[in-house]
């Protein structure tokens, strides 16, 4: 550099250059902001989704009950005093519980006279209220002839009104609850006879046509059985495939084909697996429709690629020194694998398996194909019983016209997400706990 250069203006300080520099910096900030906004849009979508599910879903865990003085009218129950225990229970099950509730409601609302109004009054309570009266009668025969206050389950419409999902400002014709019913409810409310509580039936019973009686236990058990089948099939086969491909397979055209195959299977749409299950398991092998066995088999085929790919990564992470040491001690190749490589890579394999299982738990489309969409009230007891799964139950409820099912759908989604968070949390925890640096 010469003196002349120092005295003359450097091109960096000319006005045009400065302007250009400023522009470039402005562009820099703008681009950074655009990038951030992209990220924020994604996060916003997540936030809206979670918030909207939780705001509609949390009330699904609550239920409304009406405290009614039920007069256990001996004239309606007509119980013979000298029945043995079994006969008594059988008799109590046949009692006209509906009439018991109706008459008790009439006693509480003496000014309700017409037949139609009484029917409307009765509709404040759920059909499940009859079961509660029956259970009370079975539990304690001495209550016959007495008047006892009972917390009876309210109907879905009442439940939604109390939770504020039906507004009383709307015209009577466009809401499901009539003005008269509102007046009665106000009276009950004024007497402190409306109780809110935790909806145990939601967690402890199967599906139902009535939103207030519908539960997710049946679907949850169905999901559990399905996942069990998936795990039993996919885990051993997946791990065996991974060991073979990673450790034993000769490098040739065949193994190349298998590898490309697995990678492609991982990206096949899940509904195609449903078609496969329908065509092969149901139509060729004549397995029972709607059974967790078929669902599990289908999902196993679907999760197999995930398990194979993660297992291979875990096996690859075991350093060759371990293998060489084992072989140096005189172990055969199989012994090396089974006694050393497999135990060391097991945490990684299990992590992958859990992630695959979480995927299978959330999967709906293949299960629709093999008929796990039926309306099933009973909780399934084996892998051959007809069953639904949690996501399918969500789909069914979301499609239901009954408005009371909306909060149930969201509540079921919350339960499903809870399971998924637990499973993924377990996977992350395992990865951290057993992570080894070689």
């Amino acid at each position: 550099m010469t003196d002349k250069d120092l005295t003359s203006k450097s091109p960096w300080t000319t006005e045009a250059m400065q302007k250009r520099l400023k522009k470039r910096y402005r562009k820099e900030t703008a681009f950074k902001a655009v990038g951030l906004s992209g990220l924020l849009i994604g996060l916003c979508a997540l936030a809206i989704l979670v918030i909207s599910i939780f705001t509609t879903g949390l009330s699904g865990f609550k239920e409304t009950r009406l405290t009614i003085d039920v007069y256990m009218d001996p004239a309606i129950i007509k119980a013979a005093p000298d029945l043995d225990e079994d006969a008594r229970i059988a008799h109590m099950a046949k009692v006209n519980h509906r009439a018991l509730i109706r008459n008790s409601l009439r006693l509480s609302f003496p000014d309700v006279k017409s037949r139609r109004d009484i029917m409307a009054l009765q509709r404040l309570t759920s059909n499940g209220a009859r079961d509660e009266v029956r259970q009370a009668l079975i539990d304690d025969p001495t209550i016959i002839g007495k008047t006892i206050p009972m917390n009876l389950r309210a109907s879905s419409t009442v439940d939604m009104y109390i939770k504020g999902q039906i507004s009383r400002d709307v015209a009577q014709s466009s809401r499901k609850i009539s003005d008269k019913q509102l007046v009665w409810l106000d009276k009950l409310n004024a007497e402190g006879r409306i109780v809110k509580g935790f909806n145990w039936i939601f967690l402890s019973s199967g599906d139902s046509r009535e939103p207030e009686l519908a539960g997710i236990l049946g679907a949850a058990i169905g999901s559990l059985l399905t996942l069990l089948v998936t795990l039993v099939i996919a885990f051993p086969i997946g791990v065996a495939t991974a060991i073979y491909l990673e450790e034993f397979a000769p490098r040739n055209k065949w193994t190349d084909i298998i590898e490309i195959n697995i990678n492609n299977l991982a990206a096949v749409p899940s509904i195609i697996f449903g078609l496969l299950g329908l065509a092969i398991f149901l139509n060729v092998f004549n397995m029972p429709r709607s059974a967790p066995l078929v669902g599990g088999l289908t999902l196993a085929l679907m999760t197999l690629p995930t398990i194979i790919i993660t297992s291979r990564a875990a096996i690859r992470a075991v350093p060759p020194s371990i293998r060489e040491a084992a072989i140096g001690m005189g172990a055969s190749k199989i012994q090396t694998q089974l006694h050393h490589v497999l135990p060391l890579s097991l945490p990684g394999i299990l992590t992958g398996t859990i992630i695959g299982m979480a995927q299978a738990l959330g999967e709906t489309a293949p299960l629709l194909m093999i008929g796990m969409v039926a309306f099933i009230v009973d909780v399934p007891e084996g892998i051959l019983d007809a069953a639904t799964a949690l996501p399918v139950q969500i789909f069914l409820w979301a499609d239901s016209a009954e408005r009371g099912f909306m909060e149930k759908t969201s509540a079921a989604i919350i339960v499903l997400l809870l399971f998924l968070v637990l499973m993924n949390g377990l996977a992350i925890w395992m990865r951290h706990k057993f992570e080894k640096r070689w």
């Binding site: 495939t241 194909m369 789909f395």
Partner: protein, 455 residues
């Protein structure tokens, strides 16, 4: 099972006895001899049981039908078509277990049912006894072969190895199963509808006549409107997801601090873990009504099952896919390229736009292709948020239907399996499978090529 576990211990003892408890003289570990004899007994038994599961019912059915031939009216059954015979057999099965039958219970039917029950028991006993006998036989043979010089470990390990190889074949078998079942059903479908009508038809209304004399419902199986709808929704999803995913990937790899990245990345990937049925519910519950009311506000008429709602939510679903894939490829760009660009005086933005994105472009393209294939094959969101009626339109505010929606609609509920309506679902499935396969294949090829470039 019992026999083989017994064989394990006997074989192990025999091996030990043959060398008077001196393990060193054995070729393999005592356990290996045990496993060897267990396997020799288990495998033939398993084969018998498998044969029973597969062939047993057929044998019983044939025996039952043959027994009917001697009976009055038996001749008729022999001359029935395959399909009618299957129905007849089904009735026999149902009667045997006490279910309802589709025809009046005749004498020959009850006879057949009783025969069926008896035959079932007999065959069961024959098979299980022979299975037990053969495994016992094999076990004794296996145990007799045991001697100190026998290389039981090598045999056992060859067995395990072939078991492993067999498992790895299952993945191929799955693909073969998918392809063959789809192609098989599609060919049957093409008996009803010509290929040209299927691929080029502009109308989709899969209502076939239930009875032959019904009027005017021969059905139309033109696949174009379905693919138009699928592409429309996919296009909307990609228009939303690609910029958002790409920008967040760029921001997270290039601008965000390490701590921010550690928070944002898992949060964004949470979106990938949410089941699609939840997205579907979200689309139907929140997004679609929102779009409709805002449309009302703007004076636009928007269908409540508009393609826009389904597409947007699907876009949200594929954001994490797009962002994590592009994140990977952007991180894979060598630091030296970045440093060179900075050394020339480029700002970060200029480096990203002029250096990093061009060199990561193949990876970004393949991420785009994978996202597209994911969107095309996505089912639950569109089932819950898109329409049912086929509608050939490019207007995102109208309701359209997609291939996957139609597959679900055609196959849920009870249908007979032979109608063109049900079979068309498999034809759609084949089309879907082919398209996604091609997209995935190209994407994987591009990624592999790209990886080699920098390795």
């Amino acid at each position: 099972m019992l026999i083989s576990s017994a064989a394990y211990f006997i074989g192990r003892r025999k091996a030990l006895q043959s060398v008077q408890g001196d393990v060193r003289q054995l070729h393999s570990l005592p356990g290996h001899y045990g496993w060897f004899s267990a396997m020799t007994s288990l495998l033939p038994g398993m084969i018998i049981i498998l044969a029973w599961i597969i062939f047993g019912p057929v044998i019983i059915d044939n025996m039952t039908l043959a027994s009917l031939a001697g009976l009055e009216g038996g001749e008729k059954i022999q001359s029935l078509s395959d399909f009618d015979r299957a129905i007849y057999l089904n009735d026999i099965h149902n009667l045997a277990v006490g279910d309802a039958t589709s025809r009046p219970v005749t004498e020959s039917l009850t006879f057949a049912a009783q025969y069926y029950q008896r035959a079932q028991q007999d065959i069961f006993w024959i098979f299980s006894l022979s299975a037990v006998a053969i495994s016992a036989l094999a076990a004794t043979l296996g145990i007799r072969k045991i001697s100190p010089t026998m290389r039981s470990r090598n045999i056992l390990e060859r067995l395990i190895l072939s078991g492993l190889a067999l498992c790895s074949l299952l993945a191929v078998l799955t693909t073969v199963g998918i392809v063959s079942s789809l192609i098989f059903e599609t060919l049957r479908f093409l008996d009803h509808v010509s290929l040209a009508d299927f691929l080029l038809g502009l109308k989709w209304s899969p209502q076939t006549a239930l009875r032959a004399d019904q009027v005017g419902s021969s059905g139309a199986f033109g696949v174009i409107p379905l693919f138009a709808g699928t592409l429309l929704i996919t296009f909307i999803a990609l228009v939303f997801a690609v910029p958002v995913g790409l920008l967040s990937a760029i921001y997270m790899t290039e601008f965000a601090s390490r701590g921010a990245r550690a928070v944002f990345k898992p949060l964004l990937e949470l979106l990938a873990g949410i089941p699609t049925v939840v997205y579907g519910f979200f689309a139907a519950l929140v997004v679609a009504p929102f779009i409709r009311t805002s449309g009302d506000f703007l004076g636009l008429e928007i269908a409540s099952e508009s393609a826009l709602a389904a597409g947007l939510v699907m876009g949200v679903m594929i954001i994490p896919l797009m962002s994590s894939l592009s994140d990977d490829v952007i991180s894979a760009v060598p630091q030296s390229l970045r440093d060179a660009s900075y050394g020339l005086g480029a700002t970060k933005t200029e480096t990203i736009l002029n250096v990093i994105i061009p060199s990561a472009l193949p990876g970004i393209v393949s991420a785009f292709l994978l996202a597209a294939s994911r969107a095309i094959g996505e089912t639950m969101i569109v089932v819950m948020a898109a329409g049912m009626a086929a509608n050939l339109t490019a207007n995102p505010l109208e309701a359209v239907t997609t291939v996957t929606v139609q597959i679900v609609a055609l196959l849920t509920g009870d249908q007979e399996f032979n109608s063109a309506k049900t079979l068309s679902a498999f034809a759609l499935g084949l089309a879907l499978f082919t398209i996604t396969l091609i997209l995935n294949f190209i994407a994987l090829k591009v990624v592999r090529k790209y990886q080699e470039q920098y390795d």
